[in-house]
């Protein structure tokens, strides 16, 4: 039985977060390209960043890849190609643990650095603090799910690929399964909830830099030339200042 609370928690909130996530990015990109940056703090401090940042980033990118596999690829597909449940489990938990730990260590270093290096701390915005709070929550809950639930089976046998994953895919295919989340262990519920919160916050933090990952760099010519455009000025006219049709060339 699904209560209306379940619907709010696992249907309404996900969609609200999704809309904020997408709309927020569109809005931010339109109105604040100048603010779209990593806000690197390497000028202030390199020693801790040299370890913390790569550990965190490579870790979180691996975690992200893991989530794509775990959440987006149905169990029936892996079954079809003959990957046994145990094999999948061992690989997923093993790499997940490794990536999660790297992320956690990296993030700890980054947060420690942010707090203790004077200049970095004074360049920390409120958004940074909120972001790190949520990020840390999500990551620690995620690790807990891997260790406590999947490895030690503390909350009994729970196969997220038959629960959380179905719910997650349902969001995008409009086959809504709030009951699956309602039945999931508390730590999975909390992980999902915190993740949704960080997605809603995402467009308003420095995390937007993720969408600028400059892979194109590998293919483009080294030196970029730019000729001026025919446009009046360098960027599109501000609202209300468009030229009238007659004068437009």
């Amino acid at each position: 039985m699904t209560t209306s609370l379940d619907v709010v928690l696992w249907v309404v909130i996900p969609y609200v977060c999704l809309v904020v996530f997408i709309g927020g990015h569109v809005w931010r990109y339109t109105y604040d390209k100048f603010g779209w940056t990593t806000r690197s703090s390497q000028l202030y401090e390199s020693r801790l960043l040299r370890w913390g940042s790569p550990l965190f980033h490579f870790g979180i990118l691996a975690v992200f890849a893991g989530h794509v596999i775990g959440l987006a690829i149905p169990k029936s597909w892996t079954d079809a190609v003959g990957i046994s449940e145990t094999a999948y489990h061992v690989v997923a938990v093993g790499t997940g643990l490794l990536a999660g730990l790297a992320t956690l260590v990296g993030m700890t270093l980054l947060i420690y650095r942010r707090r203790t290096t004077g200049p970095v701390f004074s360049a920390t915005t409120r958004m940074d603090k909120a972001m790190y709070l949520l990020l840390a929550t999500v990551i620690m809950l995620g690790l807990w799910n891997t260790v406590g639930s999947s490895l030690l089976s503390l909350s009994g046998e729970y196969n997220y690929r038959e629960g959380v994953s179905l719910w997650f895919r349902g969001i995008f295919t409009f086959q809504l399964h709030p009951e699956l989340m309602a039945a999931a262990p508390l730590s999975f519920q909390a992980h999902g909830m915190a993740a949704m919160a960080i997605f809603a916050l995402w467009p308003f933090t420095r995390l937007v830099h993720v969408f600028s990952a400059p892979l194109f760099y590998l293919w483009r010519p080294y030196v970029v030339y730019r000729a001026k455009s025919d446009r009046f000025g360098a960027r599109a006219a501000r609202p209300g200042w468009d030229r009238s049709e007659q004068t437009r060339r």
Partner: protein
């Protein structure tokens, strides 16, 4: 052949008095903002010295610029593209704020708020990075005038020479090296930028950072071997020297050149073959780079070049300007200008006439005549320290081109002395350096007495383009500061939000006011001097209101068509009744 035009500069180092006026005016114009306190788009270094940031010339340490890879192909010294991306999370070779210097201000407030006390209150230095009290230990020109020469041994250029020649105390020499971004033909900063936000303008070759496209990957800081891209630590974006493009577009020289006390900067166009750049930057040995870069430049008088330039869309008056370019004359005709560190292989476009003064000083100290060509020639040949040092700076260690330039300068010095003393010039002196007397005098004219419009030959952008170009200004790094809705730090951090156009005073108005002869329009009765335009010389008419002048508020009188006020826009264009 793909002809492109490049706005470029030559600096005559003999004339630099190290006054830092260029740095200060540049800073006031461009980097007098939060986040750029430590940034000097123009800085003046005393050489020998560590430079700014410290030891930036040691590319084994900082990995800037280009190098040839194993297959002889040009590659960023910091590594392949893949390596560049793989190290993006923490840039391995980025100078820290300490390598520049920790900027500071003083706690001035204490001077007025301190209670009555026995000792005078002291305004303590406060770090602009951490906000805390700090001890000042370094700055952008800490070793100015060899001050603190205990730091000299850290000069990477000196390190290359001094294992061969010991820097004897009595042979100490020094000169000043003003530096801006080189606006390279093969910019390593642009090549290092993962986002492609750094671009070279196709029209005039000025290298700019698109502030809306920069994502703060800070790879360009490593890429530039001259360390002339800076990271704005408040906005999280890279910024660099803009060659004052809003001024250059309307035909005005850069701020550093305009305000240079020594009048030693020359600005002009160079035409070059963009298709030949890569090959020229890839020659096998460093010593070939000077000639290979010279080979990229195109003769603006050559009819085939003119034809190709016109085909490439370069306007006729730009070709004329390229022909009159003092930069072309100094680099090519007289061959006295040399590039700074060609071995970085970025094909820099701010060139230098090396200083003869260290040689002259040494000759003078010996009590010999320091204006006799023979003495100077002999000194250039025997004085290894200044010559080798200069060669490390300008010709990747090859002393021959430096010696040739210094001899030309020495020849000019002694040849012109005779003429200035009212004697006949000795034609054997120019002949000794392969020049005619006519060439020698023309070079002297350009180096010693050239007027404003000979030193700066800057074609302005075309009237039909001017509107576009003027507001190109919105791409500059000043764009976002102090605009509406910018009350300090927004939720996304300092400097976020939409921008405002740069042009507050139109640069055309500025030019009019700078090039007009009078401070007022004298045809206008009762005209008053706009004190902002008054240069302080004398008392122009209208500085003080005369007794018979109509009072100020006769607005209706000003601007009637028959009185003609050419610069009052709308009024002046009203039809006659």
């Amino acid at each position: 052949m793909r002809v492109m035009a490049q706005m470029s500069m030559v600096l005559n180092l003999d004339k630099c008095i190290g006054c830092h006026t260029c740095s200060v005016t540049c800073k006031q114009a461009w980097t007098n903002r939060s986040g750029t306190e430590y940034v000097w788009f123009n800085n003046v270094e005393t050489r020998p010295g560590q430079g700014y940031p410290r030891t930036y010339e040691d590319q084994e340490r900082w990995q800037g610029g280009w190098t040839l890879n194993k297959r002889g192909r040009l590659q960023l010294k910091a590594g392949s593209r893949l390596k560049n991306l793989a190290t993006i999370f923490s840039s391995p070779k980025m100078p820290s704020i300490q390598d520049y210097y920790e900027p500071w201000t003083y706690d001035y407030e204490i001077l007025t708020t301190a209670p009555l006390q026995q000792h005078t209150p002291v305004a303590r230095p406060k770090s602009l990075i951490s906000g805390k009290d700090m001890k000042i230990t370094w700055s952008a020109n800490w070793d100015d005038d060899l001050g603190g020469s205990e730091h000299l041994s850290a000069d990477p250029v000196l390190a290359k020479v001094s294992d061969k020649v010991k820097l004897a105390y009595e042979q100490t020499f020094m000169f000043y090296l003003p530096r801006i971004c080189e606006h390279c033909l093969n910019p390593a900063c642009a090549a290092s930028c993962p986002s492609g936000a750094i671009y070279k303008r196709a029209e005039d070759g000025i290298v700019l950072v698109d502030q809306d496209k920069c994502r703060g990957w800070r790879k360009c800081v490593t890429g530039c071997p001259y360390k002339k891209v800076y990271f704005n630590h408040k906005t999280g974006k890279a910024e660099k020297c803009t060659f004052c493009f809003p001024r250059v577009e309307v035909g005005l020289p850069t701020v550093c050149a305009e305000t240079c006390v020594g009048r030693l900067r020359y600005i002009g166009l160079m035409l070059y073959d963009a298709d030949a750049v890569l090959e020229a930057a890839s020659v096998a040995t460093d010593h070939e780079l000077l000639e290979s870069q010279r080979g990229v430049f195109l003769d603006p008088f050559d009819p085939s070049v003119i034809r190709e330039a016109e085909r490439a869309g370069i306007p006729r008056d730009w070709i004329d300007a390229a022909q009159r370019s003092p930069v072309w004359a100094l680099i090519n005709t007289y061959k006295v200008a040399l590039p700074l560190h060609p071995e970085y292989r970025t094909m820099p476009m701010v060139w230098y006439i090396p200083p003869l003064s260290p040689v002259v000083d040494v000759v003078q100290e010996t009590g010999e005549d320091a204006e006799a060509a023979g003495n100077l020639f002999a000194a250039i040949d025997t004085l290894r320290i200044p010559v080798e040092y200069l060669a490390e700076l300008f010709t990747s260690g090859d002393t021959a081109p430096v010696t040739a330039v210094l001899k030309k300068l020495a020849a000019m010095r002694s040849y012109m002395r005779d003429i200035n003393m009212g004697r006949d010039g000795d034609p054997s002196i120019p002949a000794a350096v392969g020049m005619t007397t006519h060439e020698m005098e023309a070079m002297f004219r350009l180096l010693a007495i050239a007027k404003y419009d000979e030193r700066y030959v800057i074609p302005s952008a075309h009237a039909e383009q001017a509107h576009n170009l003027e507001e190109l200004a919105t791409e500059c790094s000043l764009d976002y500061e102090g605009g509406p809705g910018m009350g300090g730090s927004g939720p996304f951090g300092e400097g976020s939000g939409t921008g405002t156009p740069l042009a507050v005073e139109s640069f055309r108005t500025l030019k009019e006011r700078q090039t007009s002869d009078t401070a007022t329009d004298l045809n206008e009765p009762g005209a008053r001097v706009n004190l902002l335009n008054w240069d302080g010389r004398g008392t122009p008419p209208g500085l003080f209101p005369g007794p018979g002048d109509p009072p100020d508020h006769s607005e209706s009188d000003r601007g009637t068509p028959d009185r003609g006020t050419p610069d009052s826009g709308a009024h002046g264009t009203e039809p006659k009744p």
